[in-house]
């Protein structure tokens, strides 16, 4: 039974053979070869790393959301580990379905609004 997985790749922008796009394509086809059904690919592009990795300050982020057999995951993980142009990779099981960032952003906007209301009502309490 295939399961839902997410793979986040952080590609070294300087070391990636050819271009970052090629590296991403290579992993897309690698996943395909391992019988994965691609659901979504999200290119976040280059962003600053929260901390330095191998003297690099930035990396190129790509998120793959796909369905695959659990047995294929070890191989995918190994391929990422051996690849020097990958600064970091993360494979996770999407237990509650795929989360997209767009959805999440809406939720934050709502929460921030709720916070404002909270603060306003608290001030009133203090006055009373």
């Amino acid at each position: 039974m295939p399961k839902d997985y997410e793979l986040t790749l952080v590609v070294d922008t300087q070391l990636a053979e050819g271009s970052v796009d090629e590296t991403v394509k290579r992993y897309e086809s690698l996943l395909g070869e391992r019988g994965a059904i691609m659901v979504n690919i999200d290119r976040w592009g280059t962003r600053k790393l929260a901390y330095e990795i191998q003297k690099r300050q930035q990396g190129d982020y790509t998120l793959f959301q796909f369905q695959a057999e659990p047995s294929a995951i070890a191989e995918i993980d190994r391929a990422c580990r051996l690849d020097e142009s990958i600064l970091r990779h993360l494979v996770i099981l999407a237990e509650n379905g795929f989360q997209s960032l767009v959805q999440a952003d809406v939720a934050i906007a709502e929460e921030e609004e709720a916070d404002d209301i909270d603060e306003a009502s608290e001030e009133e309490e203090d006055e009373a």
């Binding site: 986040t8 952080v10 790393l49 929260a50 901390y51 990795i53 990396g59 982020y61 998120l63 600064l87 970091r88 990779h89 993360l90 996770i92 509650n96 989360q99 960032l101 959805q103 999440a104 952003d105 809406v106 939720a107 934050i108 709502e110 929460e111 709720a114 603060e119 608290e122």
Partner: protein
């Protein structure tokens, strides 16, 4: 920040608000400026959500979306 006064779990209150390692903007509210995870006694998060939150923060740290240690001064 009124860290000490929140009584209810944010994530129980708001079902739309999902905890996800990709969503650094949500996670950032639950770490100190140094990058440490804030204990749930201060944030009011319930045990279950704190656990999910912890996992997400650790994942985010691994892929360098969040710092393990950050400079205290901004």
């Amino acid at each position: 920040m009124n860290r000490g006064r929140v009584k209810v779990c944010r994530f129980c209150e708001d079902k739309v608000l999902v905890i996800d390692y990709k969503n650094e903007r949500v996670l950032r509210r639950f770490v100190t400026e140094r990058g440490k995870i804030i204990p749930r006694r201060m944030t009011g998060t319930c045990a279950r959500h704190q656990r999910v939150l912890m996992r997400a923060i650790k994942r985010a740290r691994h892929i360098a979306l969040m710092p393990y240690v950050a400079d205290a001064v901004k």
